[in-house]
């Protein structure tokens, strides 16, 4: 099993009486930020114990590392405007709240600092184009940042929490199962045959697989979270060995930062205890902002990452081989290859049709079609 990133699994959950902190000023934060707080507190973002300080941000931007040289590529920032809380100053503490997930967390304000949105966007997303969703988010951020440690005091139970395993829990699970090498697969879609091929190819060489869908904010037209989870439950029930595959969700927002985000995704899975992480073509990409294999190449900059990337290039069904293949194993011409088109599968499902079994397992398609509205509207 991998050691936690930075050497120690962070646990910032402290049960306090709400009366102990009742005097503190409150700062309502958006749901994405509140998910960051939860991920810091339960160790998903280890070694972070809070929102980044100025020197850490500068180092992440320039070096893709925290100030202490630990690999870290996506800045975890808390932005605010002066009018959010009057007279806020370094050394104070505030209560972070969020209505949607009932968050209550104490933040110690160790540092208040400014930042340059343009250089932040350019460094993280390699573009300043506001059509890029990550860049647009940066430009929508408030003017100041707070650096400081957080302590989670409370949060409420939410849908899918039965699948929401913390790093301590996944590590306990892997230990109980006797798994030493675990590969993680990230997803935002129901599985088609290509996904199954990738997962099982990687699984062949390790002890178990953690299927780890990202749950949270979605775009119109995306599959709904419950559809993704149900479709994987079906696939695992019919086509995976119970002793070899588990699923747990990850609540975090996609940044679409391509290569930098691939490293971030790997770090989170390392904290869950995984030793390997599957990285596909254009991982965490959007539009044409990144090259198809930039998210593979960036791993060479991090020999000290502590989790092994498992790279997959393109894969398709070859009618001549009569199997799923990739460009390393199939000698046949492209005319024999049928690509796994998410768009085509989506179109068929939208019309209530079951895709061919070359594309998607019948049981999986039937599970999706049981939902009146499988897509976000």
């Amino acid at each position: 099993m991998s050691k936690p990133h930075g050497g120690r699994l962070i646990n910032r959950l402290v049960k306090k009486e709400s009366s102990d902190v009742a005097e503190l000023p409150k700062l309502e934060i958006n749901t994405d930020l509140s998910e960051d707080v939860l991920n810091i507190s339960n160790g998903v973002f280890s070694p972070l114990e809070g929102f980044l300080y100025g020197d850490d941000l500068e180092s992440v931007v320039k070096e893709k590392r925290l100030a202490d040289d630990t690999p870290w590529t996506i800045p975890i920032l808390l932005d605010f405007d002066k009018q959010d809380i009057k007279d806020l100053k370094e050394g104070d503490a505030v209560l972070l709240t969020n209505k949607e997930n009932g968050l209550l967390a104490q933040l110690n304000i160790d540092e208040i600092y400014t930042y340059d949105k343009k250089s932040l966007a350019q460094a993280i997303y390699r573009t300043e184009d506001t059509d890029h969703p990550g860049v647009a988010n940066v430009y929508n951020m408030k003017q100041l940042l707070i650096g400081g440690k957080i302590t989670l005091l409370d949060s409420k139970t939410r849908q899918f929490d039965n699948y929401n395993l913390s790093p301590r829990e996944t590590r306990f699970l892997f230990k109980e199962k006797g798994w030493r090498e675990i590969v993680a697969f990230q997803t935002r879609n129901p599985p088609h045959i290509g996904h199954e091929y990738v997962q099982k190819t990687a699984l062949t060489f390790v002890d178990g697989i953690l299927i780890n869908p990202i749950i949270g904010k979605k775009k119109v037209g995306d599959f709904r979270d419950e559809v993704i989870l149900s479709s994987y439950e079906t696939l695992m029930k019919h086509y995976y060995l119970k002793e070899r595959a588990v699923m747990s969700i990850l609540r975090t927002s996609m940044k679409y930062a391509g290569p930098r985000e691939a490293i971030h995704h790997a770090i989170m899975r390392k904290n869950f205890g995984c030793t390997h992480f599957i990285v596909g073509r254009d991982h965490a990409g959007v539009g044409n902002y990144y090259g198809p294999y930039d998210a593979h190449d960036i791993f060479s900059e991090f020999p000290d990452l502590g989790i092994i990337p498992v790279f997959f290039r393109s894969f398709s069904r070859c009618t001549k081989c009569d199997s799923v293949v990739n460009d390393k194993i199939c000698p046949h011409d492209q005319k024999y290859h049928i690509n796994f088109s998410g768009k085509k599968i989506r179109e068929l499902l939208t019309n209530g049709e079951i895709p061919s079994e070359d594309m998607m397992r019948k049981e999986v398609a039937e599970t999706i079609l049981k939902f009146d509205k499988p897509f976000v509207e």
Partner: protein, 77 residues
């Protein structure tokens, strides 16, 4: 900025020159861009191994709760 943040971030440690030379050769082409980054990595690995051993486990009560959750998912018998 608080007092904690003003603490100097790096310090100098001496190691024997022959060892440093060996390390320099070893890290060629590995992605480590300096002797310091490699030594930091190795020491961090050693320290994290020690910390991991002393990491607090679940209490008996919490462990049973976790096991119940995992059994409900069908992941443990």
């Amino acid at each position: 900025m608080t007092e904690e943040k003003e603490v100097k971030k790096y310090t100098t440690i001496s190691i024997p020159t022959p060892l440093a030379e060996k390390i320099k050769k070893r890290i060629e082409g590995t992605g480590f861009n300096s002797l310091s980054s490699y030594v930091t990595y190795v020491l961090r690995e050693v320290i994290s191994g020690i910390e991991e051993e002393s990491e607090e486990a679940f209490s008996k009560e919490d462990e049973e709760k976790v096991k119940d959750r995992l059994r409900a998912l069908g992941y443990l018998d």
